[in-house]
């Protein structure tokens, strides 16, 4: 449906978007994930036609959109600050897009009602938008974006302004509403938990390009490089140098490590980053090829498991592992890692 091809944009003289390309297909919700300042919102505004790209094209069903002004694109856009019209009440805000399409009055009324029902806010028609709570404003903004039946929906950090509990609750609501409306959607966020909850597919925007894209669990299991692993907070990242192949061996300041990698093995002598996932630490170290030993600095109870922080030596950052049994603070602990649970990653983009 939507194809974004090689979009370029500079901001105050510096490159912001550096050839962004991706597609969105029917019924799909994609999540554009990136740190703040990575150009996510700018990209949305370019797709919406509110800003012009300096290079590249946006296509809808193979047709270029460059000459189609924003108001004729029929893309719904939900703004980060909601941008609810302060001089209009809830119903008038939702009706705005329908009025722009010159729909008959009766139909507008009926659709506004339906939209309010979707967001579970019937009875709020005449309320001032300035008097709504953050969560209510967020839902009205969503209703306003979907009421005119856009052919695609774009949401710019829609939960960014809300507190944590509300965010979790609303992200599930959003997901079910997006599934119900069945329009393709682009969801922009910097929060990976939110992205996991919403997305069919994740696009990771970094340094002006799409660094990696794929289903959430794919990216989680197979981060493309060290930056991706760090951004997703996948675990302990330790610097090292490749010293041997089959088995892939990496020299680190905690000793020789046998690791695995996706695809081709990196060349001998190349710098690398190894990822130890906290959840994959085995307490039965006897069966494991690799052993990690350190002093227990701290232990946090997390329900099912304990998060234990180890200090291995002065040169390395603290090392976290997830254990099912408690340990003593101050004791020396050794955990084991299977080679297939240690991922060797490219150092790029750090």
């Amino acid at each position: 449906m939507l194809k974004v091809s090689n979009i370029q944009k500079t901001y105050e003289g510096k490159p912001l978007l550096n050839g962004v390309s991706f597609t969105v297909s029917t019924d799909e919700t994609i999540c554009l994930l990136g740190s703040s300042g990575s150009g996510k919102s700018t990209l949305l505004r370019i797709i919406a036609g509110l800003e012009e790209a300096e290079g590249g094209q946006v296509f809808w069903k193979e047709k270029p959109l460059a000459d189609l002004p924003a108001h004729q694109r029929r893309f719904g856009l939900m703004f980060q600050d909601y941008a609810l019209f302060p001089h209009r009440n809830v119903a008038e805000n939702i009706a705005f897009g329908l009025r722009m399409q010159d729909r008959p009055k009766a139909e507008i009324e009926q659709r506004v009602r339906a939209a309010l029902e979707t967001i579970d806010m019937l009875g709020f028609e005449d309320r001032k938008v300035t008097e709504l709570s953050g969560g209510e404003q967020q839902r009205v903004a969503l209703a306003r974006a979907i009421a005119p039946e856009p052919r695609m929906l774009m949401l710019d950090e829609p939960l960014g302004a809300l507190d944590r509990t509300l965010r979790e609750q609303l992200s599930y609501e959003l997901r079910s509403i997006l599934r119900k409306t069945k329009v393709p959607a682009i969801y922009v966020t910097h929060d990976q938990e939110e992205a996991y909850a919403i997305a069919d597919r994740l696009l990771l925007l970094h340094n002006g390009i799409i660094l990696q894209s794929g289903k959430p669990h794919e990216i989680y299991r197979h981060p493309k490089n060290a930056w991706v692993a760090k951004f997703f907070g996948l675990g302990n990242l330790i610097q090292g140098k490749v010293v041997g192949h089959s088995p892939l061996t990496v020299e680190t300041s905690m000793g020789m490590i046998q690791a695995s990698c996706d695809g081709e093995q990196p060349g001998i002598g190349s710098q690398t980053t190894v990822l130890f996932r906290p959840t994959r630490a085995c307490p039965q170290r006897e069966n494991c090829t690799n052993q990690v030993t350190g002093e227990v600095l701290d232990q946090v109870f997390q329900g099912e498991t304990y998060r234990v922080t180890l200090r291995i030596n002065r040169d390395l950052p603290n090392f976290n592992v997830q254990l099912s049994e408690p340990v003593q603070i101050g004791q020396t602990l050794t955990v084991g890692y299977h080679p297939e649970d240690i991922l060797c990653l490219e150092n790029r983009d750090m």
Partner: protein, 570 residues
């Protein structure tokens, strides 16, 4: 070709230029041309004026007096205004709301009304003198107020105290209360907190307010002419006298230029200070941090202040209104016993031309003229004001150049403007029109800076995301303007209309140069009537002033209402 045109309109500088076109042409023709003509008058040989032959005393004397009276007036204003600001920022007291509305009145009251008010209170035919005469059986009024230096100072204090109160108490109550609390927790006594935290943060606002008051005192004209009389020659009065009575246009021009340089320097200083202010402000909701006075001393001080402020603001205006419906002395040509007491005679007579003079039109005609001028002024200023506001919204470097040029009329006095108009436009085509179109044009130049300062922030405060949202929802550009900009601007537009109305209705300086005898404005008519003998003339002047005051006061209420609404929105 159309593509090139389209891409041109997307460049901010081109868009800014398109919006600037009309306002810049208007300002260039009607403001900068007359201004340059003043300079030209000095160097052009046609007038036979040589700078070297100029007696410098004729410049220094008015300049010295203007500065001295402005400084003294400002000092007196601070003495009453600063405690007033303290009162407003820190205390809750009965009548606060009413007093707050009253403090906005002087902002908008025409000088003639204020002058008439003090005349009705302290003048030879005013309440105080008549009362004292009746009480002690005196032959002549015991208080000599009119035509004294004290009269000028009093009126200036009346006008400007509220500026200090508003500017300083706003800054005071917007100060983050946490700062004071932090100082207290760190062990500062209330006095130390005030000296170490509150006062340093207030300083820019106090300085800015002081400079603003000084500027107003420096350029004050109507008050000095009507209450002080021509012997108190400030620059403004001297320009007026030299130009209209002595017909010495070169001297008037050089005085104007001197005045312009001074006001420009003051304005620049003020803008610099006022610009700095914004940084320290963290808004807090109203009435937080205010309390009822507790100690006896506090109660005494606040009560005294409230009484002083009330009497300063209310006494002249109440005397004016009351005096306009009471007959106390004989009309001209009236003999024998006069009936004293309540009368609406002055109001009824407003439509009658008693003198039967061709040039002395009945006052009601003056009111009608003023309304017509005001409507034209509103039309011009709103159109230009909206254009300028949109021009200023474009992110273009040319705004940095054009914006100060627009604000210059704020520094130039109305007298300078009137003088320039006479020099440049006293020839065809303008001298051919029977209708004095120059008058509303001059009013527009006086009002435009205020209106731009009202509209531009209102426009800037509309977040772009609202327009983008409307566009994404399918609104074409013009529709976006109608659905988003216009309704969100409407409170500011209404406030601007009121500004245009009241400024035009009350404008005295430029009008005194530009009115034609058969087309007087309301303030000019009041000025003529109040200085004439006879109870009827006096009463009519007061009646007209009262009507003007009511219109302006009504305007204030509307402004307050809409400013409250727009705050609610954005």
């Amino acid at each position: 070709m159309t593509d090139r045109l389209r891409s041109l309109t997307k460049k901010p500088t081109w868009r800014a230029l398109i919006f600037w076109l009309l306002p810049a042409a208007f300002l260039g023709y009607f403001f900068y041309q007359p201004l340059l003509a003043l300079f030209n008058l000095l160097i052009s040989p046609d007038w036979g004026f040589r700078l070297a032959e100029l007696d410098l005393n004729r410049l220094w004397q008015p300049l010295w007096f203007t500065t001295a009276q402005a400084a003294l007036s400002t000092l007196l204003t601070l003495i009453i205004g600063l405690p007033g600001a303290w009162l407003f920022a820190n205390y809750i007291f009965p009548g606060k709301k009413l007093l707050k509305i009253l403090t906005t009145l002087p902002f908008i009251l025409p000088t003639v009304v204020v002058a008439a008010g003090f005349n009705a209170l302290l003048g030879p035919r005013g309440w105080l003198n008549l009362g004292l005469m009746a009480l002690f059986n005196l032959e002549s009024p015991p208080i000599q107020f009119l035509n004294t230096f004290g009269a000028i100072l009093t009126a200036h204090v009346f006008y400007n105290t509220t500026i200090i109160i508003r500017v300083v108490s706003n800054a005071w109550s917007q100060q983050n209360i946490r700062l004071q609390q932090a100082a207290k927790v760190l062990g500062a006594s209330p006095w130390q907190t005030f000296r170490e935290v509150t006062l340093p943060l207030l300083k820019p606002s106090i300085l800015a307010g002081t400079l603003l008051v000084f500027l107003f005192n420096f350029t004050s004209f109507g008050v000095i002419l009507m209450l002080g009389g021509p012997q108190f020659a400030t620059l403004e009065v001297e320009i007026y006298v030299q130009a209209l009575h002595m017909l010495n246009l070169p001297l008037a021009s050089i005085l104007s230029i001197l005045q312009l340089i001074c006001t420009l320097a003051i304005t620049l200083g003020h803008n610099k200070l006022a610009g700095h202010q914004k940084m320290t402000i963290v808004p807090r909701s109203q009435e937080i941090g205010t309390r009822k006075p507790k100690h006896t001393l506090e109660r005494l001080a606040t009560t005294l202040l409230v009484i002083i402020l009330f009497s300063l603001l209310v006494a002249p205006l109440a005397s004016l209104a009351l005096r306009s419906v009471v007959k106390l002395e004989a009309s001209r040509g009236e003999r024998g016993e006069i009936t004293r007491g309540f009368t609406l005679q002055f109001y009824r007579e407003l439509g009658v031309n008693r003198l039967g003079d061709l040039f002395y039109v009945p006052p009601i005609t003056a009111a009608r003229n003023s309304l017509i001028f005001a409507l034209i002024t509103i039309l011009i200023t709103i159109t230009l004001g909206i254009l300028v506001a949109y021009a200023l919204r474009q992110r273009s470097p040319i705004n940095a150049v054009l914006d100060p040029l627009l604000m210059l009329p704020l520094g130039a006095s109305a007298i300078t403007l009137g003088l320039g108009f006479i020099i440049v436009f006293n020839r065809p085509p303008f001298s051919n029109f029977r209708f004095p179109i120059l008058l509303p044009i001059a009013h527009s130049l006086v009002a435009l800076p205020f209106i731009v300062r009202t509209l531009s922030p209102a426009l800037q405060s509309i977040p772009d995301s609202l327009r983008n949202a409307a566009r994404a929802l399918g609104a074409p550009p013009l529709r976006v303007w109608r659905e988003i900009d216009l309704p969100l601007l409407s409170p500011a537009i209404i406030v601007s209309i009121i500004f245009g109305l009241t400024i035009s209705l009350g404008e005295f300086g430029a009008s005194s140069f530009l009115t034609r005898p058969d087309y007087p404005t309301l303030p000019i008519a009041i000025f003529r009537y109040i200085s004439q003998p006879g109870a009827l003339n006096y009463g009519q002047a007061l009646a007209m002033s009262t009507l003007l005051m009511i219109v302006c006061a009504g305007g204030i209420f509307i402004i307050e209402h809409f400013q409250a609404t727009s705050k609610d929105w954005l």
